[in-house]
Symmetry: C2
Subunit: 163 residues, 2 copies
Amino acid sequence: MPIAEELKQSRPFPAKSQEAAVALMRTADLVRRAVAAVIEPRGITTQQYNVLRILRGAGERGLPTLEIAERMIEQTPGITRLIDRLESKRLVSRERCTTDRRQVFCRIRSEGLELLETLDKPLAESEQEALGSMGQQDLLQLVELLDRARTGLSAALLAPRTN
Amino acid sequence: MPIAEELKQSRPFPAKSQEAAVALMRTADLVRRAVAAVIEPRGITTQQYNVLRILRGAGERGLPTLEIAERMIEQTPGITRLIDRLESKRLVSRERCTTDRRQVFCRIRSEGLELLETLDKPLAESEQEALGSMGQQDLLQLVELLDRARTGLSAALLAPRTN
DNA sequence: GATTGGTACTTGTCTAATCAATCATTGAGC
DNA sequence: GCTCAATGATTGATTAGACAAGTACCAATC
């Protein structure tokens, strides 16, 4: 269904770029909700899950707090308290770096790894179910187009407009 | 830049559908932030802006509260208080429907329309700057792919998994 | 070794989002 | 007309997010 119809818009989009922006956010929200439907019943939010995934990828050594923030899918300024919550759930541990005592290294704990493992399969299935109808060719093309979209976007964000 | 590189992932995505899901949410977050950079300095959030846009499209008659919620780009359960805030800013008005007293019709006020008008041009420019580098052909294709992605997604959300 | 600028968080405070429970109202069936 | 489930919206309590200011630390210079 076209986005204009889905949102019952009375008039067509003035420019294709605007339609693309709306379609993009709307589609991403659906993905986010599909993912949340799998993750949140296990007692963590999608953002907390994102942090755990990042830390699993980082391995033994862990990562400093702000390094995690940079790698998040959705950027958040509240990274400290986000990790506070993961720590109080005993899913991650934190330790001040000895060589640079300003940094705090975060590591995923075995409880966190186990939680992630229980989510790996259901999430893969959910993604497959949600986007699998598209075919490899379409997915490849979509990923490619999104990569290019981000190029212009990050440039636009770095050079904020002067209204 | 490919998404795996952007997020400094240590291993490649196991499936293209997962890469697409991550790229989608990441890209949408960039769009959201670019839009927010234009809108929020005027004292409203992107969600409040979304409501105002919906009500402008709805015209004189307005829309019942939950009808607005359905048309939002990002679905929110907190629609009542979202509109509360718009009402206290005197950007919208509310009135209980006389034929079905359960419903509350919301209408955009002239102050709201004026605010929207001041945002129309800067937003269009920002969108153009952010996605304009892509070319009409690419945008068309992107919109088309996203439309198809949503088909599978809404099906997946309506039939929640039984974990 | 004191100073200065910058980095890496952390904390306080306020605002906003979420979830469950509630209320008024309606329409359908008896 | 009376019940009773369903609808539309609101409220209360908890949790989370946003922004600004603050703390601790490092590295380089004077």
